[in-house]
Symmetry: C2
Subunit: 327 residues, 2 copies
Amino acid sequence: MVGIKDVAERAGVSIATVSNVVNHPHLVAEATRTRVRSAIEELGYVRDESARQLRAGRSRIIALLVLDLGNPFFVDIVRGAEEAAHDHGLNVISCNSGQRVELETSYLSLLAEQRVRGVLLSPVGTPGGSLAAFRRTGTPYVLVDRKVPEKDASSVSVDDVAGGALAMRHLVDTGHERVAFVNGPDILAQCRDRRAGVRTVSGAEVTVLEVDHLDVASGRDAGARLLGISPRPTAVFCANDLLALGVLQAMVGAGVRVPSEMAIVGYDDNEFAAAAAVPLTSVRQPARRIGRTAAELLIAETSDDGPRERRAVVFTPELVVRRSSQV
Amino acid sequence: MVGIKDVAERAGVSIATVSNVVNHPHLVAEATRTRVRSAIEELGYVRDESARQLRAGRSRIIALLVLDLGNPFFVDIVRGAEEAAHDHGLNVISCNSGQRVELETSYLSLLAEQRVRGVLLSPVGTPGGSLAAFRRTGTPYVLVDRKVPEKDASSVSVDDVAGGALAMRHLVDTGHERVAFVNGPDILAQCRDRRAGVRTVSGAEVTVLEVDHLDVASGRDAGARLLGISPRPTAVFCANDLLALGVLQAMVGAGVRVPSEMAIVGYDDNEFAAAAAVPLTSVRQPARRIGRTAAELLIAETSDDGPRERRAVVFTPELVVRRSSQV
DNA sequence: ACGGCCTCATGAAACGTTTAATGTACGGGT
DNA sequence: ACCCGTACATTAAACGTTTCATGAGGCCGT
């Protein structure tokens, strides 16, 4: 493995000079600079970031630990975060916890050991323990799609209670009296909040169907269960568009017409919602802006000129009505 | 920042002992071990991976540099790779090049500097330059969804020529004489190969529509262009399901019936294809297996007991016929 | 009683950088 | 002729680990 030492030898200079060529070229005379540069080229020298980082004490990477990369909503968050990070000359790496607590923990300690510049994360449960390590190492983190008190950390989220209410109100207003609510596990704050939102709305009898994963397959299962309920609900609100797509598939498969026999409302308004068999009514969240804002908060927190105050940014969701819920 | 030294002091032992407690607990007497462990606990010590790695010379991370995280196909590849990596006690980080060459280059050098254990990548163009750095540092890499000669690297891919031919043959066989082919940029090998596959099939007049990005929005645009062609093709083959979904949206929007007025065939058979407005016929690729296989090849290459020979694994795609192309 | 072995703990070197402090040479102003 | 400043280049320390070689006791068998 070729190191700075080999380059120095080859170019007939000291290692300090090589380092300067790489990091502070203006300190080095023209002639030496080119000589060193060609030595680097010829030997294929690649500087070792771990040594550099060991010396510097901080890395140039911010990490994004995300609930489910299979959900386009989170992919958009990644995109937003990448934009902001690149604007500041930082790189982003993404890790996928796939909603498994043990994976989340394992990634968190991996990242703490890597001494990443900061972490954006959408936690599964209450990630108390692992985050304590971050707080101690001084690694800043920002919660994404999850609100916490400012004293604990900055966060960027969407008002899920409002979102749940929005969807439910829409269904009640369009005349539905028996509504199913397909929700994810209670361990996810998003799901708890959306359920709370649903509860704030009266005027319909709500049957809750809980699923383990917020994906299309679980949606199909929930759809099947839904068809077995009697008397059958006339509308269903799904905690996410993937579930809604699955439910829709189940309805189509069973010959139940949407929306006349079963209205469907999803959540996230991802790009597939509009393209679905029956275009989906959905609760839109500004995913990209969430990612961008979170990254900016994080970057501000790590910036040299004094730590910023913590903030809890909350976006407001918006109902997008499409055919799947039209009377 | 608390280091091994602080722990040692607190526990009244040497730093070597602390290190042993962490890495080779059996070498340390019970009593000391627990004393050190509580010191670690109390101080919240987190070991510094960069120092560790500097000493060790290699990391425990494998990286995945992917063309487009917005495409569920690649997300499934990530999942497969994660499975395999976790089986071997390694962690995976994903980076998204978003089909931009400069981002790809920047990530590749980032990863080279990080001295990651290995890299799985689906390159945009011909990533000669940046990969040379890997070859020199001895960082192994495996190409994903892209075949290269064994002498250069291992690779795991799907026969895209066969896939393109499969789709096209299906359309010709079902009686279409004017077919549009919505393809991505030629810089992507996948697109070149699928086009080559399309060309091997005769019996229909093919109009190629090229788009820059393989996403739903580009598909909508292509759909609009498609409607302007006269005489209008009766079928369209899209290089990927996202494009196909976009085209489908455009057709539905314009009141063109699918499949009777316009048959559509996509590629990847992602989970949204089956859930689409009109369920999409698509060419299925075993994404998860691709990711898993690639990771296994990579891990084998980095294993201690001698380097394995390189391999080029090629999977065969499979046509899944659904309503969007049924006569 | 003594050598040898085993168990456990330690000292010190090494990994590849960056950077502060120091050194050298040379030209110009007095 | 001397001093100083400028412009480069170098020496050496430091970052936080891991590990090898060594040391200190205690126990066993002879």
